[in-house]
């Protein structure tokens, strides 16, 4: 939870460092563009922004009102669909993003680690060499570039899926259509995330870790004791590979989140990323700010859960 406060303090300081005239510019830009915006919405926006950017009251008051807004996700009504609160817009889209993220992260983490250990044991074989060079190519590529490449492959060259924007607005009548729709819309975004993070990140890091662990003295000793290969793998190698990987997972969650937001936009997947895109297009600061604070809270909670789970995997932490 201390992470949360540090994170909010960091964003607070960052927003304070922005040019002060920004708020008036933002509000003015709405009137200049000649957009039809409810005057009450503008007044609310001005109040929110003044508080968020810390322009009212003493520094301590500023900080408290800022924290209150960030923790309760209360950034007033959204501009693009006034008078719905921005928070509600975000929360409505949340299930889509969370389902995509949890599914892809868990699946690619498990599969990637298994494949890495597998390739590392059979490193003399051809298949392992192919996997390693494939993963070296995939590792540095960002998700959204992979997404763009997949769109080119599966929507242009082999038209299995509609081109960008072809999905249309989501309409749900019953549960089967919902599931079918979810699968149809999620396949490509999920694939672009899984390919990169499974074959790239987790595969490569678990491959190198296994190489290191295999040369450790305790593994050598276990071999001398005549333990079976499968037992050495399970009890000695695999566990020691998983530990650092859990820590890496916690640290890379933020990046995964950001990348997934962009992937959503490219596939017009109806999640938070798509909402962010529309918010940027219409200059909807309340929605964008709610998205920022929600992602910070979500990632902080996820790392917190990882912290709780960690002792169950690593007995050394428990004893301390």
């Amino acid at each position: 939870m201390a992470t949360l406060f540090t994170a909010f303090t960091f964003t607070f300081l960052l927003l304070r460092a922005m040019p002060v005239s920004a708020v008036e510019n933002i509000v003015a830009s709405f009137t200049v563009q000649g957009q039809v915006v409810d005057p009450q919405a503008l007044e609310e926006l001005r109040k929110t922004l003044y508080e968020v950017f810390g322009l009212i009251g003493s520094p301590i008051e500023q900080y408290i009102s800022y924290l209150r807004r960030f923790l309760t996700l209360d950034f007033g009504p959204s501009i693009m669909s006034y008078p719905t609160p921005a928070r509600e817009l975000i929360i409505r889209r949340l299930p889509w993003t969370v389902s995509l993220l949890v599914f892809t992260t868990v699946l690619s983490w498990i599969l990637g680690n298994l494949l890495g250990v597998f390739a590392s044991i059979n490193r003399k074989k051809r298949i392992s060499k192919v996997l390693v060079s494939l993963s070296l190519t995939l590792y540095p590529i960002p998700y959204y570039i992979m997404a763009l490449a997949l769109i080119f492959l599966f929507a242009y060259l082999i038209p299995v899926f509609p081109l960008v924007g072809g999905f249309g607005e989501a309409v749900f009548t019953d549960i089967f259509i919902l599931i079918r729709e979810w699968l149809y819309r999620s396949t490509l975004p999920a694939l672009s995330i899984i390919l990169i993070s499974m074959l790239g990140w987790w595969f490569l890091s678990s491959f190198t870790l296994t190489l290191n662990v295999q040369t450790e003295d305790y593994v050598y000793y276990a071999e001398l004791r005549g333990l079976s290969q499968s037992r050495i793998l399970k009890n000695y190698v695999f566990r020691n590979v998983l530990l650092p990987q859990v820590t890496t997972l916690g640290l890379s969650l933020g990046g995964i989140f950001g990348g997934a937001l962009l992937t959503e936009i490219l596939f017009t997947y109806p999640g938070i990323g798509m909402l962010a895109y529309r918010a940027v297009l219409s200059g909807d600061y309340p929605t964008a700010l709610s998205m920022l604070s929600l992602t910070i809270i979500a990632v902080a909670i996820a790392t917190y859960i990882l912290d709780i789970v960690y002792p169950f995997i690593d007995p050394r932490v428990r004893h301390r």
Binding site: M18, I26, F152, L251, G255, L261, V280, A288
Partner: protein, 300 residues
């Protein structure tokens, strides 16, 4: 003595470079791609001045090998994809390099301080670093750029400024890395010897610690270039970059904006994507090559 240091450093860099080129296949491939990319970026200086305007070439022309202008085809608004591409690579590299000039050096400083001081300083600094690593950087930059975008466009040199912005979070990974290295260096005997010989802290850092960190620093530099270019490309997809300048990101943005694939202009769509992949692959292979060189345990 003072003159002796740079020459020694240069020869040692030269030596390591030739060893790396000879031994590491990854480094070799990465280096070759980088040379190719740099040549493309340098070619941008010979771009004909009309490349920046619309309709200076026929519209939506597929790649035709008649001349260098049309070798990658043209866009829907009659610009040469090849010249946009060279300029995009140049600008993206500038963004990456500006960040690489700032962020890893801050990280180096923070990492050394945290690692050497230890105790409460270390814990506070590392807590801040870990927190910033965990915060999703993209939504943060979305807000920052939404606010700054009108200001950036009005600026004289917007491209380097983008690089400056990404330094806000880019220093964290290097700081973590350097600190881990310093922690293990601190316990080595030569540091103790140096300190018992009455050398000052500054001298120990400069003469004993930094030389050992140089290779890692180089790895951090290449990774930061990638971080920054990736961030710019990602934000461009949201339309939050400098849209009137050509970068790899804005190139993707405009090809999506004009739905290039839908019109069948695949050359416009695929060129920046291949460009990004090449740049990322090159820098990644370089950093892999170097890290295998300094850490023999990674060699296969």
């Amino acid at each position: 003595m003072l003159v002796g240091i740079p020459i020694g450093v240069i020869t040692s860099i030269k030596n390591s470079f030739s060893i790396l080129m000879r031994v590491s296949k990854k480094f070799r491939i990465g280096f070759i791609i980088i040379i190719g990319v740099t040549i493309l970026a340098l070619l941008s200086f010979s771009a004909p001045p009309q490349y920046i305007h619309w309709y200076s070439y026929p519209r939506s022309l597929p790649p035709t090998p008649t001349g260098i202008d049309l070798i990658f085809g043209t866009t829907a608004n009659g610009r040469s994809v090849f010249w946009i591409f060279t300029n995009a690579i140049k600008n993206s590299l500038v963004i990456g390099i500006v960040t690489a000039l700032i962020a890893p050096h801050i990280g180096l400083l923070v990492g050394i301080i945290a690692g050497l001081r230890g105790g409460i300083v270390d814990r506070v600094l590392m807590f801040i670093t870990d927190t910033i690593i965990v915060i999703p950087a993209l939504p943060l930059y979305v807000i920052v750029l939404m606010i700054l975008k009108p200001h950036i466009s009005a600026m004289g040199s917007p491209i380097p400024f983008m690089g400056l912005i990404f330094s806000i979070t880019a220093w964290c990974w290097p700081a973590r890395q350097v600190r881990a290295m310093v922690l293990s260096l601190r316990e080595r005997e030569f540091i103790l010897t140096s300190s018992l010989s009455g050398n000052s802290m500054a001298r120990i850092i400069l003469r004993e610690i930094i030389p050992h960190l140089l290779a890692w620093h180089l790895i951090n530099l290449t990774n930061t270039v990638l971080y920054s270019i990736g961030m710019e490309t990602g934000l461009s997809i949201l339309g939050l970059s400098i849209l009137d300048k050509d970068t790899l990101g804005t190139m993707i943005y405009w090809s999506l904006y004009y739905s290039a694939l839908f019109r069948g202009l695949w050359w416009w769509y695929i060129t920046p994507i291949v460009g990004v992949i090449l740049v990322f692959l090159a820098f990644f292979l370089l950093s892999q090559g170097i890290s295998e060189y300094v850490n023999p345990r990674l060699r296969q």
